[in-house]
């Protein structure tokens, strides 16, 4: 007699704490891939924007090649709708929009944009008529901006109009990352600052530009075509701020731990400095190079302060500022503001 066939029993499905089922590794992989695949389609507009605003290079090219068609499929299948609805509900409908327009103000009739005008009257600000101050730029402006706000905290004649706008990875080359040209116009119109302190260029030392006028191309960083276009953009920011009567302090880029980067920053500084010179009295350029140079004239992370104390001035990345550096810059900015305006604050 044959032995009865043994039925192979599947092991009992195991459960963990709370009665949750354990699943196979295959299921883990399937859920992970499925969720990520569907999430890619649902978030396609945002991912496409993230790909667009990446630094130039093969990673951006690959990301654009993937997210472009993905965004098209998502749109065709209406899978981008939930994200758009969610963004609209949050009042952030523009989050996924890529805006590359370089809005340069048209010169006003008879206005001497490109030559130094007469020294403007030294206006007076008091606690009753406060000096409205705006601080903006790339991530480099954050630390000096905070120092500046601390420095004017006890001064009742100065009022910041907005929190410090330090936009990471932004600059004048890439309005797609953040459009400063649009923002400057908006601030001038709505917040009407009397003084603006800005710092741009920290991310602009690459040569890749978006928002170029139709038919215009730039050949690479520092070339005549790049310099002309960058100059136009610097001028647009300066005019955008000063056209409404505000005084602009532009903080120059500092020496960095990378000599090659420092050389590129020098080229940017030269453009800014010459454009500021054309607008003397309305724009002041603050050269920061020697604030942070060591005894040999090169980059130094630790520098003695005015009290002779050795302090850390620069962050570990060799570019950004530490608090002590911010305080030093703020002191100089404040001196420029006081040179331009009479700021009267009773103690």
């Amino acid at each position: 007699m044959d032995e009865p066939r043994r039925r192979r029993r599947r092991p009992r499905r195991r459960t963990a704490e709370g009665g949750r089922r354990l699943h196979s590794a295959g299921s883990a992989v399937a859920v992970s891939l499925g969720a990520l695949g569907l999430a890619l389609l649902l978030n396609a507009p945002g991912l496409h924007k993230s790909a667009t605003i990446q630094p130039e290079g093969w990673k951006r090219d690959v990301a654009l090649a993937v997210t472009g068609p993905l965004a098209d499929v998502s749109s065709t299948l209406l899978l981008d709708r939930p994200r758009r609805a969610l963004k609209a509900a949050l009042g952030r409908s523009d989050d996924d929009r890529v805006d590359t327009e370089v809005a340069a103000p048209e010169p006003e009739p008879g206005e001497p944009v490109s030559s130094p005008g007469p020294a403007p009257k030294r206006e007076r600000f008091t606690p009753k008529r406060k000096l409205r101050l705006w601080v903006a730029g790339d991530s480099l402006v954050v630390v000096p901006g905070e120092s500046l706000l601390r420095a004017v905290a006890g001064n009742r004649a100065v009022a910041p109009v907005e929190k410090i706008e330090g936009r990471i990875a932004s600059g004048l080359e890439r309005p797609d990352v953040f459009n400063w040209f649009t923002r400057v116009r908006e601030v001038a119109r709505t917040l009407r600052p009397h003084a603006a302190v800005v710092m741009f260029g920290g991310n602009d030392d690459h040569g890749f530009m978006t928002g170029l006028p139709e038919g215009r191309e730039v050949d690479g960083f520092g070339t005549p075509s790049w310099t002309a276009e960058y100059r136009r953009r610097v001028a647009a920011i300066m005019d955008g701020v000063t056209r409404s009567g505000a005084f602009l302090v532009w903080i120059g880029l500092p020496i960095t731990s990378d000599p090659e980067q420092t050389r590129r920053y020098d080229a940017i500084n030269a453009i800014v400095q010459s454009e500021a010179e054309k607008r003397r009295g309305r724009v002041a350029y603050l050269d920061t190079y020697f604030f942070f140079a060591g005894e040999d004239g090169g980059y130094a992370q630790y520098v003695e302060n005015a009290a002779g104390k050795l302090v850390k001035m620069r962050a570990d990345d060799g570019v950004h500022f530490e608090r002590a550096a911010g305080d030093l810059i703020a002191e100089k900015v404040l001196a420029l503001l006081e040179e331009r305006y009479r700021i009267v604050s009773p103690s």
Partner: protein
Amino acid sequence: MLFPTATFALFFVVVLPLSWLLMPRGERWRPFAVAASFVFYAGWDWRFCFLLAFSIVWNQVFALAIHGRADPRSRKWLLALALAGNLGLLGYFKYYGFFVTSTNNLFALAGIDLPLEARSVVLPVGISFFTFMGISYVVDVYRGDFRPAGFGTFAAYLSFFPHLVAGPIVRPGELIPQLQTPRDPRYVDTSRAFFLIGTGLFMKVVVANFLASSIVDEVFGAPSQHSSLEVLVGVYAYAVQIYADFFGYTNMAIGIALLLGFTFPQNFDAPYAAVSITDFWRRWHMTLSRWLRDYLYIPLGGNRGGRLLTYRNLMLTMLIGGLWHGAGWTFVVWGGIHGAALVAERWWRGRPGYVERRPTRARRAWHRFATFQVVCFAWIFFRADSFSDAWDVLVRLFTAWGEPSPLVTGGVLAAIAVGIGSQYLPRSLPLALMARFSRLPVPAQAALLSLALLVTHALGPEGVAPFIYFQF
């Protein structure tokens, strides 16, 4: 490579299936895990990989040497050398500048100009975490608690990417046995893994980033520009931000490890529901607390030498723990505040005739409230760039009431409520949610997760801010 990025997602969808395919063959899986972890680490800076490799070789060589010797004297010397290597590495990369500036400025007070040169040293991400894990491996081998693992297993242990850059600090006894035995591909706790990853992403990308950009950075950047209410809410917001940031990261790390079949220890247990500072340290960064207890507090003598020595040991442990968090005196003060609170609690409970009072609901609520205030007070020093900034925050807390507070918005208060309220939820709730999720079919699980990713991505700000604990 940050967890909440497309780059990591791409990396993980390749690593996850390959890891399970290779899992049955440990001799293939371990090199694969090490290679994947080095790729992950190189995402920050490929040069750091040499440091990680050095740490692996150094600790394994000394663990084997210690294990191979019976003579206590030479074992002790070898341990001292191993520790010197680990601490020397950490000291150079993390504390060199701090040491030089502090020493120079101290001697300058006495008019002595020291020739110590302060040069730039880049802090490699995660060095504090893998150094502590290396130390615990060598010490455990020295104590005889653990036999040295094979080189591949140890390399996988120290470099395993889910814990590599910001913990949790996994002890050799917790992970190495798991690395030595292939994980069973039939039973993976996927629902817990996805739950941890989902909540971690939400806490980091939405709660922590929102609070940082909406109020915390503003208030701590220039406290004297803000009203007392803004400063107060800013301090509470920072307490929630740092919790959401680090809890979020470790949740993701634990979830990712679970998907690969490995179990990491829990790192947080509702710390803002703690009823004392002693209780807080049982719930906050639990793997660090355990590490400090077993490798610092107990070797210092623990509570074996009488009351005063116990107080000294507690204080020293917390001061060093503070310094571990950052090369700055504000971190030491942060540790000092916690140390002083721990000493005070121990003294209070150790008084002659002290009787623990029956815990009523009101008493517990008061203890929780008081503990949270002490923790938040200490966070001011942790977050501030300098003592003068911390002082500004403290002064401003009391001197600008009644001024306009535009930063205190409904969104900020809601995010704080989410961060603190989540710690008071009944433990049965997440368990029930996970159980329900685990019973859904695969497509439904994938759809639900993708919706969670949609909401997190849409609510979060553009870009991903670095995790606070990466700098430690």
